[in-house]
Amino acid sequence: METEEQQRSQPIGSESVDFRLEVQMRLQYLTSVRRTVGELAAVVVRDGDLASRLALATHELLENALKYALDTSAPVTLKLWIESSHSASVTVSNVSNQSLYLPLAQYLQTLSKASDPDAMYLQLLETAMHRVSGSGLGLARIVAEAEMKLSCDLCGDMLSVRAEAHLGDRP
Protein backbone atom coordinates (compact mmCIF):
# COMPACT_ATOMS: atom_id res chain seq x y z
CA MET A 1 0.00 0.00 0.00
CA GLU A 2 1.35 3.43 -0.93
CA THR A 3 1.90 5.99 1.79
CA GLU A 4 0.49 9.47 1.26
CA GLU A 5 4.05 10.73 0.83
CA GLN A 6 4.67 8.23 -1.98
CA GLN A 7 1.40 9.19 -3.61
CA ARG A 8 2.26 12.87 -3.45
CA SER A 9 5.61 12.31 -5.08
CA GLN A 10 3.98 10.84 -8.19
CA PRO A 11 3.17 13.18 -11.04
CA ILE A 12 -0.47 14.10 -11.39
CA GLY A 13 -0.25 13.51 -15.12
CA SER A 14 -2.75 14.76 -17.61
CA GLU A 15 -5.80 13.64 -15.68
CA SER A 16 -8.62 16.15 -15.53
CA VAL A 17 -11.95 15.95 -13.82
CA ASP A 18 -15.18 17.74 -14.56
CA PHE A 19 -17.66 16.48 -12.00
CA ARG A 20 -21.12 18.03 -11.77
CA LEU A 21 -23.91 17.40 -9.37
CA GLU A 22 -27.32 19.02 -9.55
CA VAL A 23 -29.42 18.35 -6.52
CA GLN A 24 -32.33 19.68 -4.55
CA MET A 25 -29.98 20.29 -1.66
CA ARG A 26 -30.84 19.18 1.85
CA LEU A 27 -28.81 19.59 5.04
CA GLN A 28 -28.55 15.85 5.44
CA TYR A 29 -26.73 15.54 2.09
CA LEU A 30 -23.88 17.86 3.09
CA THR A 31 -21.59 15.25 4.59
CA SER A 32 -22.06 12.81 1.70
CA VAL A 33 -21.35 15.46 -0.92
CA ARG A 34 -18.30 16.76 0.97
CA ARG A 35 -16.93 13.22 1.29
CA THR A 36 -17.55 12.51 -2.40
CA VAL A 37 -15.65 15.63 -3.46
CA GLY A 38 -12.80 14.90 -1.05
CA GLU A 39 -12.47 11.29 -2.13
CA LEU A 40 -12.69 12.06 -5.83
CA ALA A 41 -10.16 14.87 -5.56
CA ALA A 42 -7.78 12.68 -3.55
CA VAL A 43 -7.79 10.05 -6.32
CA VAL A 44 -7.02 12.63 -9.00
CA VAL A 45 -4.57 15.01 -7.33
CA ARG A 46 -3.01 12.42 -4.98
CA ASP A 47 -2.70 15.07 -2.32
CA GLY A 48 -4.71 14.54 0.84
CA ASP A 49 -4.22 18.12 1.95
CA LEU A 50 -5.54 19.62 -1.29
CA ALA A 51 -8.44 17.17 -1.32
CA SER A 52 -9.28 18.26 2.21
CA ARG A 53 -9.19 21.94 1.17
CA LEU A 54 -11.56 21.26 -1.72
CA ALA A 55 -13.86 19.33 0.60
CA LEU A 56 -13.88 22.20 3.12
CA ALA A 57 -14.73 24.71 0.39
CA THR A 58 -17.49 22.41 -0.87
CA HIS A 59 -19.06 22.20 2.56
CA GLU A 60 -18.92 25.91 3.30
CA LEU A 61 -20.24 26.94 -0.13
CA LEU A 62 -23.09 24.44 0.05
CA GLU A 63 -24.03 25.56 3.56
CA ASN A 64 -24.15 29.14 2.30
CA ALA A 65 -26.32 28.09 -0.65
CA LEU A 66 -28.73 26.48 1.80
CA LYS A 67 -28.64 29.39 4.24
CA TYR A 68 -29.35 32.03 1.61
CA ALA A 69 -31.61 29.98 -0.67
CA LEU A 70 -34.44 32.05 -2.11
CA ASP A 71 -36.17 28.97 -3.39
CA THR A 72 -35.45 25.76 -1.48
CA SER A 73 -37.10 23.67 -4.18
CA ALA A 74 -34.72 24.96 -6.87
CA PRO A 75 -31.70 22.74 -7.49
CA VAL A 76 -28.20 23.66 -6.40
CA THR A 77 -25.38 22.86 -8.80
CA LEU A 78 -21.96 21.79 -7.62
CA LYS A 79 -19.07 21.65 -10.03
CA LEU A 80 -15.66 20.19 -9.22
CA TRP A 81 -13.10 21.02 -11.85
CA ILE A 82 -9.56 19.72 -11.70
CA GLU A 83 -7.39 20.69 -14.60
CA SER A 84 -4.45 18.30 -14.87
CA SER A 85 -1.56 19.75 -12.93
CA HIS A 86 -2.71 23.39 -12.94
CA SER A 87 -5.70 24.15 -10.79
CA ALA A 88 -8.68 22.79 -8.95
CA SER A 89 -11.93 24.54 -8.20
CA VAL A 90 -15.30 24.07 -6.64
CA THR A 91 -18.24 26.13 -7.88
CA VAL A 92 -21.66 26.20 -6.26
CA SER A 93 -24.58 27.80 -8.10
CA ASN A 94 -28.03 28.55 -6.81
CA VAL A 95 -30.98 30.86 -7.41
CA SER A 96 -30.30 34.30 -5.95
CA ASN A 97 -30.79 37.98 -6.70
CA GLN A 98 -28.96 41.28 -7.00
CA SER A 99 -29.50 42.31 -3.39
CA LEU A 100 -27.77 39.16 -2.14
CA TYR A 101 -25.10 39.23 -4.84
CA LEU A 102 -23.84 42.80 -4.35
CA PRO A 103 -22.81 42.56 -0.67
CA LEU A 104 -21.31 39.14 -1.36
CA ALA A 105 -19.21 40.46 -4.24
CA GLN A 106 -18.07 43.34 -2.05
CA TYR A 107 -17.16 41.00 0.80
CA LEU A 108 -15.17 38.71 -1.49
CA GLN A 109 -13.29 41.73 -2.77
CA THR A 110 -12.42 42.73 0.80
CA LEU A 111 -11.18 39.21 1.49
CA SER A 112 -9.09 39.08 -1.67
CA LYS A 113 -7.54 42.50 -1.07
CA ALA A 114 -6.36 41.71 2.45
CA SER A 115 -2.61 42.26 2.57
CA ASP A 116 -2.29 39.70 5.35
CA PRO A 117 -5.07 37.09 5.04
CA ASP A 118 -4.01 35.33 8.24
CA ALA A 119 -4.19 38.52 10.28
CA MET A 120 -7.56 39.32 8.79
CA TYR A 121 -8.82 35.85 9.60
CA LEU A 122 -7.64 36.15 13.18
CA GLN A 123 -9.54 39.42 13.44
CA LEU A 124 -12.67 37.71 12.09
CA LEU A 125 -12.26 34.92 14.65
CA GLU A 126 -12.01 37.52 17.41
CA THR A 127 -15.22 39.09 16.14
CA ALA A 128 -16.88 35.67 15.91
CA MET A 129 -16.10 35.03 19.60
CA HIS A 130 -18.57 37.78 20.49
CA ARG A 131 -21.22 37.22 17.84
CA VAL A 132 -24.59 36.04 19.05
CA SER A 133 -25.84 34.72 15.73
CA GLY A 134 -24.07 33.56 12.59
CA SER A 135 -20.34 33.04 12.41
CA GLY A 136 -19.32 35.17 9.44
CA LEU A 137 -16.47 32.71 9.00
CA GLY A 138 -17.45 30.35 6.19
CA LEU A 139 -16.02 32.26 3.22
CA ALA A 140 -13.07 33.64 5.17
CA ARG A 141 -12.23 30.10 6.18
CA ILE A 142 -12.00 29.08 2.53
CA VAL A 143 -9.57 31.94 1.87
CA ALA A 144 -7.47 31.69 5.03
CA GLU A 145 -7.51 28.01 5.91
CA ALA A 146 -8.00 26.37 2.53
CA GLU A 147 -5.90 29.08 0.84
CA MET A 148 -8.26 29.31 -2.11
CA LYS A 149 -9.32 32.32 -4.14
CA LEU A 150 -13.00 33.17 -4.12
CA SER A 151 -15.01 34.83 -6.87
CA CYS A 152 -18.67 35.15 -7.70
CA ASP A 153 -20.96 36.19 -10.51
CA LEU A 154 -24.66 36.59 -11.06
CA CYS A 155 -26.05 35.47 -14.40
CA GLY A 156 -29.77 36.13 -14.56
CA ASP A 157 -30.99 34.80 -11.24
CA MET A 158 -28.20 32.24 -10.93
CA LEU A 159 -25.45 33.06 -8.44
CA SER A 160 -22.19 31.14 -8.77
CA VAL A 161 -19.49 31.22 -6.11
CA ARG A 162 -16.17 29.70 -7.05
CA ALA A 163 -13.25 28.64 -4.86
CA GLU A 164 -10.03 27.95 -6.71
CA ALA A 165 -6.64 26.57 -5.77
CA HIS A 166 -3.58 26.44 -7.92
CA LEU A 167 -1.90 23.09 -7.60
CA GLY A 168 1.45 23.15 -5.95
CA ASP A 169 0.97 26.64 -4.49
CA ARG A 170 1.24 25.38 -0.95
CA PRO A 171 4.34 23.98 0.73
Binding site: L27, L30, S52, L56, H59, L122, L125, S135, R141
Partner: protein, 125 residues
Protein backbone atom coordinates in the same frame (compact mmCIF):
# COMPACT_ATOMS: atom_id res chain seq x y z
CA UNK B 1 -17.54 8.22 34.43
CA UNK B 2 -19.90 9.41 31.68
CA UNK B 3 -21.59 12.75 32.32
CA UNK B 4 -25.05 12.44 30.81
CA UNK B 5 -25.62 16.21 30.65
CA UNK B 6 -22.48 16.57 28.52
CA UNK B 7 -23.50 14.00 25.97
CA UNK B 8 -25.11 14.43 22.53
CA UNK B 9 -25.90 11.59 20.16
CA UNK B 10 -27.18 12.59 16.73
CA UNK B 11 -27.15 10.93 13.28
CA UNK B 12 -23.77 12.17 12.15
CA UNK B 13 -22.28 13.78 15.25
CA UNK B 14 -21.78 12.93 18.88
CA UNK B 15 -20.32 14.47 22.01
CA UNK B 16 -19.31 12.31 24.97
CA UNK B 17 -18.34 13.96 28.23
CA UNK B 18 -16.50 12.02 30.92
CA UNK B 19 -14.67 12.81 34.14
CA UNK B 20 -11.38 10.85 34.14
CA UNK B 21 -10.31 12.49 37.43
CA UNK B 22 -12.04 14.83 39.90
CA UNK B 23 -10.34 17.93 38.49
CA UNK B 24 -10.50 16.93 34.83
CA UNK B 25 -13.09 16.74 32.10
CA UNK B 26 -12.74 14.86 28.85
CA UNK B 27 -14.92 15.65 25.84
CA UNK B 28 -14.83 13.38 22.80
CA UNK B 29 -16.22 14.76 19.54
CA UNK B 30 -17.06 12.34 16.75
CA UNK B 31 -18.43 12.58 13.21
CA UNK B 32 -19.39 15.70 11.27
CA UNK B 33 -20.71 18.81 12.99
CA UNK B 34 -22.69 20.97 10.59
CA UNK B 35 -25.62 23.39 10.58
CA UNK B 36 -27.93 20.74 11.98
CA UNK B 37 -26.13 20.60 15.33
CA UNK B 38 -24.74 24.14 15.45
CA UNK B 39 -27.12 25.49 18.06
CA UNK B 40 -26.97 22.35 20.21
CA UNK B 41 -23.17 22.34 20.06
CA UNK B 42 -23.04 26.01 21.10
CA UNK B 43 -25.31 25.28 24.09
CA UNK B 44 -23.17 22.27 24.98
CA UNK B 45 -20.06 24.43 25.16
CA UNK B 46 -21.67 26.63 27.80
CA UNK B 47 -22.70 23.52 29.73
CA UNK B 48 -19.14 22.16 29.66
CA UNK B 49 -17.80 25.52 30.77
CA UNK B 50 -20.27 25.69 33.66
CA UNK B 51 -19.48 22.13 34.70
CA UNK B 52 -15.74 22.86 34.63
CA UNK B 53 -16.09 26.02 36.71
CA UNK B 54 -18.47 24.47 39.22
CA UNK B 55 -16.14 21.55 39.85
CA UNK B 56 -12.89 23.54 39.86
CA UNK B 57 -11.58 21.61 36.89
CA UNK B 58 -8.02 22.50 35.89
CA UNK B 59 -7.99 20.93 32.44
CA UNK B 60 -10.61 20.09 29.83
CA UNK B 61 -9.37 17.72 27.14
CA UNK B 62 -11.22 17.78 23.84
CA UNK B 63 -10.54 14.69 21.81
CA UNK B 64 -10.99 15.36 18.08
CA UNK B 65 -9.38 12.19 16.79
CA UNK B 66 -12.70 11.02 15.39
CA UNK B 67 -14.00 14.44 14.37
CA UNK B 68 -14.24 14.22 10.61
CA UNK B 69 -15.43 17.76 10.02
CA UNK B 70 -16.52 20.90 11.82
CA UNK B 71 -18.41 23.53 9.83
CA UNK B 72 -17.69 27.23 10.31
CA UNK B 73 -20.86 27.66 12.36
CA UNK B 74 -19.69 25.01 14.82
CA UNK B 75 -16.12 26.29 14.69
CA UNK B 76 -17.53 29.60 15.89
CA UNK B 77 -18.69 27.66 18.97
CA UNK B 78 -15.06 26.86 19.72
CA UNK B 79 -14.19 30.56 19.32
CA UNK B 80 -16.88 31.40 21.87
CA UNK B 81 -15.34 28.81 24.17
CA UNK B 82 -12.02 30.60 23.92
CA UNK B 83 -13.77 33.85 24.92
CA UNK B 84 -15.12 32.08 28.00
CA UNK B 85 -11.60 30.84 28.78
CA UNK B 86 -10.30 34.39 28.63
CA UNK B 87 -12.88 35.63 31.12
CA UNK B 88 -11.55 36.55 34.51
CA UNK B 89 -11.70 33.72 37.02
CA UNK B 90 -11.84 30.86 34.53
CA UNK B 91 -9.74 28.22 36.26
CA UNK B 92 -9.17 25.69 33.53
CA UNK B 93 -7.20 25.31 30.33
CA UNK B 94 -8.15 23.56 27.12
CA UNK B 95 -6.12 20.73 25.59
CA UNK B 96 -7.26 19.64 22.15
CA UNK B 97 -6.13 16.26 20.87
CA UNK B 98 -6.13 16.46 17.08
CA UNK B 99 -5.98 13.97 14.25
CA UNK B 100 -3.41 14.99 11.60
CA UNK B 101 -5.05 12.76 9.01
CA UNK B 102 -7.99 15.15 9.02
CA UNK B 103 -6.00 17.89 7.31
CA UNK B 104 -8.47 20.70 8.04
CA UNK B 105 -7.83 20.31 11.76
CA UNK B 106 -4.26 21.54 11.66
CA UNK B 107 -5.21 24.92 10.11
CA UNK B 108 -8.43 25.42 12.06
CA UNK B 109 -6.95 24.49 15.42
CA UNK B 110 -3.81 26.51 14.88
CA UNK B 111 -5.98 29.57 14.19
CA UNK B 112 -8.03 28.83 17.29
CA UNK B 113 -4.94 28.52 19.46
CA UNK B 114 -3.74 31.91 18.31
CA UNK B 115 -6.78 33.47 20.00
CA UNK B 116 -5.47 32.38 23.41
CA UNK B 117 -2.08 30.66 23.21
CA UNK B 118 -1.70 30.52 26.98
CA UNK B 119 -5.04 28.79 27.48
CA UNK B 120 -5.22 26.41 24.53
CA UNK B 121 -2.80 23.65 23.59
CA UNK B 122 -3.04 21.36 20.59
CA UNK B 123 -1.69 17.83 20.89
CA UNK B 124 -1.07 15.30 18.18
CA UNK B 125 -1.33 11.70 19.37
Amino acid sequence: MIIKELTIQRDAFSVLGTRPAPNRLSIALEGSADMRVQSEFATMIYKIHDEARRNHVSMVTVNMQKLEFLSSGCFKGLCTWVRLLLERGTPYKLCIVSNPSYHWQSRSLQALRLLAPEHVTIEKP
